[in-house]
Symmetry: C2
Subunit: 310 residues, 2 copies
DNA sequence: CTTAAGTTATTCATTCTACGAATATGGAAA
DNA sequence: TTTCCATATTCGTAGAATGAATAACTTAAG
C-alpha cells in the first residue's frame, strides 16, 4: 500500500475509463477531459504498469493480457472507493434501532446516565437493552453477535476480531464518615488498617486490586462487610467507623450535605482501565460507530463534572 | 463511481494516513509531505465528507463517528488498489500450468496449430488438455470450472457468469475436383444443385446453416455422403463429382498441386461467429488472460496466411 | 493568570504539473 | 497514393499543490 504514494491515483480512474471504452477519445469524453490529456495519462499508465495496456488490432484498440487482468480488479476497487465517498452520513435523529449492551452495575452507573440523556435528546429512536454477565460471557456475546458492545475491565490481548477502546482510567478512593476522620480529612497507614472495611465485589473471588496492593505491602485489613452493590455501599458507611475503598466513579460526587469524606488511600492501589469492546465486523456500521462515539463523548463531558480534588 | 471523477483520489491516501496516525504532522511525515500540505488536504477532506473527521479531545486528535466508519472501508479499498499496482506481470516463459480446453475437431484444426507453436516458443511450461463435447456439455464444463475455455459456435446470450469473445467470423466455401468444374472455376445454382454433395456434421441433426439456406430458397440438394471428419472430407472429394461445402478454415489452403478448386457457394449461406467462452471468475487470472490473448493473437496472425481469394 | 510547549490552521509566494490547442504521426481503407 | 480517423507529441499556460513563515489553539506547568 506504500506504493500508492508513488503514483497518482487519479490515473487509475482514467485507466478504468480507457479499458472500458477501448478508445482514447471516448474515454476523454467520458472523463470530461481532452484527448491529449487522456493520451498523456495513458502514456504514464503504460510506464507504471510496464505494459502497452491498449494495442491497435485491426483498427480498433484492444486490451492486452495485463489490461484484461487489471480491469476486473480495478472495477472492483474503484467501486469500493466510489461507495466510500458518497456513503450517506448517519442521521442519529432519524435512526430507529436497538443496541444490546453488556456491563456490570458499576459500568451502568458510569456509562448509562450520560448516554441515556444524550440518546433522548439526539437519537430518540435508539433503544438500549442492557444485560449483565461475567467477563467471559460478555466477550462471548460480543463475539457471537448477541451483544453489540461490552463494557468492563478486560485484559488487553483479546481475540483478533474484537476491538477495544479504553474509556477512562479508574482510580480507587476511600470514603469514611466525616465525623470519624481527623482534621486532615484522610487516614495514615496505621489508622487506616486499624479500622474495619467494606469491600464491594461483583463476584466474590474476582480479581481484587485492593487486596493485591495490601499483599504487596505485606499488610492486612479486616473486611467487616462484603457486598456487590456499589450504590448501597456508600450509604452503608455513613454514621459508622467503616471505610469504603472503591472506584472513584462509583460515588455520588459533590453531593451536598454528604456525611462522607473522600480521600486518597494510604497504600497505592493499581488503577484499572475501563474498556468498551465490540466486534470488528461492526467497524463500518454507521450506527454502531455513532453510538461508540456518543459513549466516548458523554464520558469525556462527564469527566469535568465528576472531577474530585484528588 | 461517477463521483470519483469529482475528487482527487490522492486525498484518500492522505485521509488514510491521517486516520491511522491521528496526528497531522506524523501523517505528513509518513507521506513525505509537509505539515501544511497535509493540513490543507485535511481541510479538503473535511469539505468533501462534510465532517471534521478528526477532532481535538484531551489534547489528542480522535476520529469522529464518520471517520471511524470510513477507516475500515478505506483501508480495504486502498489495499486493493495497492495490490493492483504491484501485481506482478505474468511471466509466460516461466509459467508451469495446465489448461483444459474444449473444442470440436474443427476448432482444434483452427485454434491449435498456431497456439501450440506459440506455446512451445513462448511458454514451454504451459500444457493443454483438449476435450470435446456438445455445446451444452462444454458450457457446463466451463461453468463448473472443469474446463478453462470452450470454443465453438454459441448463441450470444449466455449465462451472466460466462464471458465470450468472437475469434473470427467464418464463411462457407465449396470445393470440388478441378477437372469437374467449368473454366469459370465455380458452379451456378442449377449445376450446383444437380451434383451430389458431401456434408460434414459433428453430430447429425445439429443446426446446419447450409440446409437452412437452401430451405429459405426453396430448393433441395442430394447429400450423397455425411461424415464428421473435416480433414477426411476434403480428401474424399478428390477425383469424384462430389461437392463439399464447409467452413473455409477447414480446408488446407494454398496447398500446392491440390486437385480441389474452392469457390463461393451459389446460394448465400449465413456465416457464423466462432467464439471463445470462459468463466468470469477467470477474468483476473493472469495466466488465463495470457492464454486468451495468445489465442486471439495467433488467430489474427494466421488470418493473412489463410486468406482465400473470396 | 501568565508563560511555555506542542500542534494545527492560515497566508502567500513559488514551483510543478496537468491540461489543452495545435499539430505530427500512424494505420486502415478506398 | 490519397483520405480519413485515431492516437501521440509538443509546448505554452493556468491552476493547483506545496512549503516557509507565522498565526491561532490547546494544554500543561509555573
Amino acid at each position: 500500500m506504500n506504493n500508492l504514494r508513488r503514483i497518482d491515483l487519479n490515473l487509475l480512474v482514467t485507466l478504468h475509463a480507457l479499458l472500458m471504452e477501448k478508445h482514447v477519445s471516448r474515454a476523454a469524453q467520458r472523463l470530461h477531459k481532452s484527448q491529449p490529456a487522456v493520451s498523456h495519462s495513458l502514456a504514464s499508465l503504460r510506464a507504471i504498469f510496464d505494459d502497452p495496456l491498449l494495442v491497435r488490432r485491426t483498427g480498433k484498440l484492444e486490451l492486452t493480457a495485463r489490461a484484461n487482468e487489471l480491469l476486473p480488479l480495478l472495477t472492483e476497487a474503484l467501486h469500493q472507493l466510489g461507495a466510500l465517498i458518497d456513503l450517506p452520513a448517519f442521521d442519529a435523529s432519524q435512526a430507529k434501532r436497538v443496541f444490546r449492551l453488556a456491563m456490570s452495575d458499576y459500568g451502568a452507573r458510569v456509562v448509562l446516565p450520560g448516554l441515556v440523556r444524550r440518546l433522548r435528546s439526539d437519537a430518540p429512536g435508539i433503544d438500549l437493552q442492557v444485560s449483565q454477565g461475567s467477563r467471559a460471557a460478555m466477550l462471548a456475546g460480543v463475539h457471537d453477535g448477541e451483544i453489540d458492545m461490552a463494557f468492563g475491565v478486560f485484559q488487553a490481548p483479546l481475540s483478533d476480531e474484537l476491538r477495544t477502546h479504553t474509556l477512562f482510567i479508574e482510580h480507587f478512593v476511600c470514603a469514611a464518615d466525616k465525623n470519624t476522620l481527623p482534621q486532615t480529612g484522610h487516614l495514615e497507614k496505621t489508622e487506616w488498617l486499624s479500622r474495619p472495611h467494606v469491600l464491594v465485589a461483583m463476584q466474590s473471588g474476582e480479581n481484587n486490586e485492593i487486596e493485591n496492593a495490601l499483599q504487596r505491602e505485606g499488610v492486612n485489613r479486616r473486611v467487616a462487610m462484603t457486598l456487590p452493590h456499589w450504590g448501597v455501599a456508600s450509604r452503608v458507611v455513613a454514621n459508622t467507623d467503616l471505610i469504603l475503598t472503591a472506584a472513584r466513579r462509583s460515588f455520588d460526587l459533590f453531593q451536598e450535605d454528604s456525611p462522607l469524606q473522600l480521600f486518597v488511600p494510604p497504600y497505592p492501589i493499581d488503577p484499572f482501565a475501563f474498556n468498551m469492546v465490540w466486534h470488528s465486523r461492526r467497524e463500518s456500521d454507521a450506527g454502531h460507530n455513532w453510538l461508540r462515539q456518543a459513549i466516548i463523548g458523554t464520558l469525556i463531558q462527564g469527566e469535568d463534572g465528576q472531577q474530585t480534588g484528588g
